[in-house]
Amino acid sequence: MSWSYLWSILFISLHAMVPITLTAVGEIFGETAGLFNIGLEGILLVSAFTGALAAESGGAVIGLLTGMGTGAIIGFIFSVINTYWKGNQMITGIGINLFALGFVAFGLIVLGAPGFHAVPAESRLVPIRTPVGSISPIILVALALPFAAHWFLKRTRFGLILKATGESPEAADVAGIRVNLVRLLATTFGGVLAGLAGAYISVAWIGSVTKEISAGRGFISLATVVFSGLNPVLALLGGFIFGFFESLATWIRNLPGSKAVPWQFIAMTPYIVTLLVVAGVIGRVRFPKALGKPYIRE
């Protein structure tokens, strides 16, 4: 295997990593503040759809912003229900996923191209050329953001406040923190990042939206959050490990001599590797005490 192959695999992995890492970092904010959003898959799907439509009429940047806006709206609805209205986070998330699956497919049918909508080449995000291949600018965002997020969560006052609302909302409340507002902001921000990830899929990575474009990446992100133990830098690593082994598995399956092993077993490897890493290295992770519970003032 020559060096150029390695570069190719690396670049494919980086592209595959982006949606997982972005979504996971966003979810880390939400979970740190105590909200568990299983509806990430749905946010990815809907924002990929709206992002593609907006990019078509207004260009790539508008598309990405629309995706983020869509994520923000869904994240906002999710958090209002689960903060001020004391709703059940699990039910809300599952509902969002169901809704998204139906809504995007329905929307594509109404638009006249059921199941598929292409983003024209001129409305796509222009990749950055490097001597060894081209990369999407969002990759840089996905590489930098976890470190910024880590700094924000661990080193700033706001990070502490976020942590306090997730660990002990009662104490935070006593200390004068507006628990529900903090949670609302954190989860809405999580929605924004998931929205960016969704729009990235359609506007920058694949260039089209289909009714199943997210293909389970929201759930993989959820697993990545658990993998990271709410550490954004580990989420970057987790997203990369998954992206790398997924790309490697695809790569190996397309090698001429790979047919000695049934392709299904090679396709399993990214999932097995992730499990092994977690079982062998990461082990038990600790979550905020109040995760998943609405805060009700006594």
Binding site: W85, I91, I94, A223, T274
Partner: protein, 371 residues
């Protein structure tokens, strides 16, 4: 009594007032249903469809006659079981997303009875047992990973779903493959099929398997010590720990019970759903049964009896949706949109209060306007 209402009538009113809180869940569900249907109607209207026609077709298709009712029940049968898988672990304080993969395992295990020849009754039991064992075995690994290595069940079950998917692909294409029709596995032989309950529909005795399992779970969770411990661990893990409840046993029990249920769900599909009685390549009849079960579990409030009702509702939405697209020409996807909104609306415990709040606001606005 100055009001002039007889004493016994007053007492009746009192009693009715006290009964109201118990009615709240039903009222909430009703309100959520209405919200879902209204938002769905709005989206349909924007998309250029006739919502009224669609809903009439949907509800007629789902519940009007025996055929529709049986179709709804048939569609709901496996969902009852996967919903139980999710809710047992939820009751024990764990988040088990693994039903999907366990359904694949159960279905393929049930198919293997095709290699044995047995009298009918035994053959069916053998299929059910195989499926339960496979489901439980697939569920056991995440449980053991959790107990020995501390691997969170969210990771392990999501990964196991994918591994199960590819492993199932392999088995369907290479091992259990039908020698004449390579697009599917061998079919479950007639002697191992769950008989059709209502002639001319796809409702089989699988329904009884589901309902029976739901009742067993209800009994186990609410009327045995082990079940009490399981629920206690979910309600307050710390207290349960100090109360001497063995958390390892709880984890194992809930995952194994869940796996049994998901495995059975796979069995009710391949042994109970006509006409193929086999697993197709690509798993088109198994995909999403596990995930839809999560929604059913949440709507049914993680209670076996609630799940039975919720499954009838979800089954009805899907069975009715088939008629909706035939009669009103509305794409089937609309069903998921409505389901999604209903589920979201159900998440809001104070929906009734919010409704009253906005109603009063509205009224006060209304009153002020003439002035």
């Amino acid at each position: 009594m100055s009001t002039g209402i007889p004493n016994n009538r007053l007492r009746l009113l009192e009693r009715a007032k006290r009964a109201l809180p118990a009615l709240t869940p039903a009222l909430e569900s009703l309100l959520a249903g209405i919200v879902g249907l209204l938002v769905g109607a709005l989206i349909m209207w924007i998309g250029g469809y006739d919502p009224w026609k669609a809903y009439v077709a949907l509800f007629r298709g789902a519940y009007r006659d025996m055929y529709g009712f049986a179709s709804s029940l048939a569609r709901g049968t496996p969902l009852i079981l996967t919903a139980l898988t999710f809710s047992i672990c939820m009751r024990a304080g764990m988040f088990n997303i693994g039903a999907e993969g366990q359904v694949y395992g159960g279905a393929l295990a049930a198919v293997t009875v095709g290699y044995f020849a047995l009298p009918s009754g035994l053959h069916i039991i053998m299929g059910l047992i195989f499926a339960m064992l496979a489901g439980a075995a697939w569920s056991l690994v995440p449980a053991l990973l959790k107990l020995t290595r501390g691997v969170h069940e969210v990771i392990s079950t999501i990964m196991f779903n994918w591994i199960a998917r590819f492993f199932a692909f392999y088995l369907v294409a290479n091992v259990l493959v039908d020698p004449i029709r390579a697009e599917k596995t061998i079919s479950v032989p007639a002697s191992a099929r769950l008989p059709i309950l209502v002639h001319g529909t796809d409702l089989s005795y699988g329904l009884f398997v589901s309902v029976f399992f739901a009742l067993v779970i209800y009994f186990l969770l609410w009327h045995t010590t082990a079940g009490y411990e399981l629920r206690a661990a979910g309600l307050n893990p710390t207290a349960a720990h100090y109360g001497g409840i063995n958390s390892k046993r709880t984890v194992l029990l809930s995952f194994i019970l869940g796996g049994l249920g998901a495995g059975l769900a796979g069995a009710t599909i391949v042994m109970g759903l006509p006409p193929t009685y086999a697993v197709y390549s690509g798993l088109p009849q198994l995909a999403n049964v596990g995930f839809d079960g999560m929604a059913v579990a949440m709507v049914g409030r993680n209670h076996p009896i609630g799940i039975l009702i919720a499954a009838l509702f979800f089954g009805g939405m899907n069975a009715g949706g088939r008629m909706m697209q035939i009669i009103a020409g509305v794409p089937l996807e609309m069903v998921r949109v409505v389901e999604g909104i209903i589920v979201v609306a159900l998440a809001i415990p104070e929906l009734v209060r919010l409704f009253r709040f906005f109603r009063n606001r509205w009224r006060s606005l209304w009153r002020r306007e003439p002035a």
